[in-house]
Symmetry: C2
Subunit: 228 residues, 2 copies
DNA sequence: CAGGCGAATTAGGGAACCCTAAATATGATA
DNA sequence: TATCATATTTAGGGTTCCCTAATTCGCCTG
């Protein structure tokens, strides 16, 4: 006789949920196995396995139909937002309290987010003064799971010159992040798009006077909102 | 063909090493499977399995002989001390920076110690001002693995009345820890043993005037050094 | 509407850790 | 020194999550 242990490894499951959440966007679009596999760095077959397991568990965090992709159930979305909250609070904490370089906070938070307790979360939240944004400019979901919708658009979508404020920057690409920071491209910075070409943008950042030529290929990593 | 992944789950292995270190004391006495099993909360057979695996790995962290117990190799001891360092730095950090109640720091540190990076360790160490002791009064091993020897003795070993200073308190038993704190029994506190009976000690703690009757059964949890 | 093609799933394993039950060593004792 | 209790190890499984290979499905197109 074995003691039954309906004990999913939370770390792995959480990563699946977070990936489904991220890929599905705020509207909760169905996500394909392949996309998940790629995001998670596992084989598609592994994804199928996991989704079947998750789907057949009580109070399943996902809605899954063979060959038709997955999306999060209400419970799954709640959990995903908890993890995102952990992640972003940790990023803010590492950056502001522990003085991490911006390009290192993501990976460390990615690892720790699965293991911190509610108490830890509460304490760093308090220590930071209940922040609303992480250092990349992303909203930190509230305790109740609410998170305002992103209203910015990527620099790559900018169709005519003008003045903007940097809303957020991508967190995945560490070297790029370092580069952006070096040029002052950080949430809150003023950014003027002076001209555009198929290859690059000519930008003026903050109060710098000289123009910055910014490759279009990287422009998806910077999100802007109109200057007030 | 499968990509080979000589990838021991560090968390579990680390826990074994830490347990061997703790049970073997500073001299590195051989530790029995049963003792390990008990400490780790697993079956003795599981311990045997793990020890065999560890012993047969390259640069093995342990020296293991069937039926004769294990002890750490130099590499194993180094690793164990790293974990202990992580653990104690985390405890200090949770207590001092995040204002955790003393009785909660152990469990949280126990979980996190396996996942923090060298950078994290370095940063909290700096933030705390390179502390030498954790909140329980235990030495924090140095980066190079050095750790001064414990010179205190448990209250339970005290054979005659006198004045002492609390050196350290046990970290495992959360409720007890809370109790000790409530009575002012914390590292650095002055403590006078006024009388002893088979059942309990009569203590005077700090500058309190009234005596505290302290059960002998709990006296192993408090370590003392002579008052200067 | 029959192929085809790529996406997704099934089949069959592997590695890490854990468990119980059944041997088997060890060491103390009669 | 034979015996026994106890400590330890071996045997045989189980779970979780991952992988490759083979198969099947959904869908687009000729």
């Amino acid at each position: 006789m074995t003691t039954r242990r309906a004990n999913p490894n939370t770390e792995s499951v959480d990563n699946y949920l977070k990936a489904i959440f991220t890929l599905g966007g705020p509207e909760g679009v169905r996500v394909t196995s392949t996309a998940l596999a790629e995001r998670l760095g596992v084989a598609p077959a592994s994804v199928t396995n996991m989704l079947q397991k998750l789907a057949s568990s009580p109070r399943s965090p996902v809605e899954y139909e063979r060959h038709r992709g997955v999306r999060l159930s209400a419970a799954g979305k709640r959990r995903a937002l908890e993890i995102v909250r952990h992640h972003r609070l940790l990023e803010a904490f590492l950056y502001e309290v522990l003085d991490y370089p911006i390009e290192e906070i993501h990976d460390e938070a990615e690892r720790l987010e699965h293991f911190i307790s509610e108490r830890f979360e509460e304490r760093i939240d308090a220590k930071l003064g209940r922040p609303k944004f992480d250092p990349h400019g992303h909203h930190i979901p509230a305790l109740n799971g609410r998170m305002p919708k992103q209203i910015s658009k990527p620099l790559s979508d900018v169709k005519k010159d003008g003045e903007f404020v940097v809303d957020s920057v991508s967190d995945h690409d560490a070297p790029l992040l370092k580069l952006l920071e070096a040029h002052g491209i950080a949430p809150g910075a003023r950014l003027e798009v002076r001209s555009r070409s198929p290859e690059e943008f000519a930008l003026r950042v903050g109060s710098h006077s000289k123009a910055l030529l910014f490759p279009r290929a990287l422009a998806g990593a910077v999100r802007l909102r109109p200057a007030d």
